[in-house]
């Protein structure tokens, strides 16, 4: 299947650890890779129950600061 042009950005720290990916899509979106925040965490941390939340690694935040 054809792949539509898109760019994946990956940050590699000096200790060789890799941050989760940032995707730039051909329709102009920036998509961050992370994990869905489970209902238990939302309850425990008083996070919005209905919002589309993702949890990201701190290295991804570093990657965003360095790369975007």
């Amino acid at each position: 299947m054809s792949v539509k042009f898109r760019v994946e950005l990956v940050w590699q720290d000096s200790d060789a650890s890799i941050a989760e990916s940032i995707f730039l899509t051909s329709d102009g979106r920036v998509i961050l890779q992370g994990r869905a925040v489970p209902a238990a965490d939302r309850q425990a941390l008083s996070l919005p129950l209905e919002a589309a939340l993702i949890s990201v690694d701190r290295r991804l935040v570093r990657a965003i600061k360095e790369m975007l």
């Binding site: 054809s2 792949v3 539509k4 042009f5 760019v7 994946e8 950005l9 051909s26 790369m67």
Partner: protein, 347 residues
């Protein structure tokens, strides 16, 4: 603006001989030659007496004699003879530069000689590795060096500038691109799966159907770009690491700033097929040469516009991601070198 504390390619090994060769590097005049025992030497190309390029002179043994008044300099840059007088003024010397011959190129260090560590020379072993067929060439480009770096980090231009050789539209419309950024390195990986091969790949690889094609661009600052490129028939497993039944090549680029608006472009092409056949090497190099001359026309046209209106606003697109990351590394290295310069002067 140049990074000085870096190795750069000054010339190919065969360019330097017993006839002095002038080359301006990072805005400084340099003369290259070999001593009688074949050791390559790089000196400032400006006589300490009245500034004539020493490259206009001639070698007398291992000394370089100025064409104007006959002062002679040894390989360290010290003046060892002034015609008509016994006293040699202590100021009669020219700068000498660390120079290393490696991978068929001569590598020069234009910055602080105390920092010139040959272990930091970027690896281009493919150029003299017996497991590869390879050749290298030189282009003089009337454009800033960063325009060439930008070009090599964004290969979507192949679809438009090089449609008769190494490009086709699949590069833009059907590619997944991954940009891996490390502290001092950018790697741009592009896979084009199950698409027609470009004309050059048909000529040198004999493909008759669709291919899985890769382009892996490895950027090392300030201006070294090593491209791992190739293709295999679709479905044979190249994306999973099984490169069989196709072709693999290395496109090897080292750009040395001459001035802010001109560059020395050293490039080579290595191939892993039919490696002992010089006709194959020439066929591959000829295809790439054709493409690179198309690039040079682009660089020089860009520079003409940049000379008219310096630093105009520009728009970035997704395909520039690797370019932007490389520029960020270069900006940081410039800041670090500028900050270190006053400290080094004070010590």
């Amino acid at each position: 603006m140049f990074l000085r504390n870096s190795w750069y390619v000054a010339a190919s090994g065969q360019e330097a001989g017993r006839k002095p060769l002038r080359r301006v590097i990072l805005g400084e005049p340099v003369v290259l030659f070999r001593t009688e025992d074949d050791t390559p030497v790089a000196l400032e190309d400006r006589c300490a007496h009245r500034h004539l390029p020493l490259s206009m002179g001639k070698l007398i043994g291992d000394t370089l004699q100025c064409h104007y008044h006959g002062l002679r300099y040894d390989r360290t840059g010290a003046c060892v003879r002034v015609p008509g007088q016994d006293l040699i003024p202590p100021s009669a010397r020219v700068r000498s530069y660390p120079l290393v011959e490696r991978y068929r190129w001569l590598w020069i260090w234009m910055g602080d000689p105390a920092l010139a560590d040959p272990a930091k020379i970027t690896d281009y072993h493919w150029l003299d590795d017996s497991r590869w067929g390879a050749a290298s060439e030189y282009l003089h480009v009337k454009a800033n060096w960063q325009l060439i770096v930008d070009n090599l980090l964004d290969l979507t231009h192949l679809a438009f500038v090089h449609e008769t050789t190494i490009g086709n539209s699949a590069l833009v419309e059907h590619a997944g691109v991954k940009v891996q950024r490390a502290h001092d390195n950018v790697v741009v990986t592009r896979w084009i799966i199950d698409q027609p091969p470009p004309p050059t790949f048909v000529k040198v690889g004999g493909f008759t159907g669709n291919v899985d094609r890769w382009q892996i661009i490895d950027f090392v600052p300030p201006a070294f770009l090593r491209l791992d490129v190739g293709a295999t028939p679709t479905g044979t497993g190249a994306p999973e690491g099984r490169r069989v039944g196709g072709i693999s090549m290395r496109n090897l680029n080292a750009i040395t700033p001459e001035t802010e608006t001109t560059s020395h472009y050293f490039w080579g092409q290595a191939h892993d097929f039919d490696i002992h056949n010089p006709h194959t090497t020439e066929k591959v190099v000829a295809q790439i040469r054709t493409a690179f001359l198309e690039d040079v026309a682009v660089f020089e046209a860009q520079q003409v516009n940049l000379d008219l209106v310096p630093n105009p606003p520009q728009t970035d697109i997704n395909a520039d991601t690797g370019v932007i990351q490389a520029r960020r590394i270069l900006d940081r290295l410039h800041r670090e070198e500028a900050a270190a310069a006053p400290r080094a002067a004070a010590e």
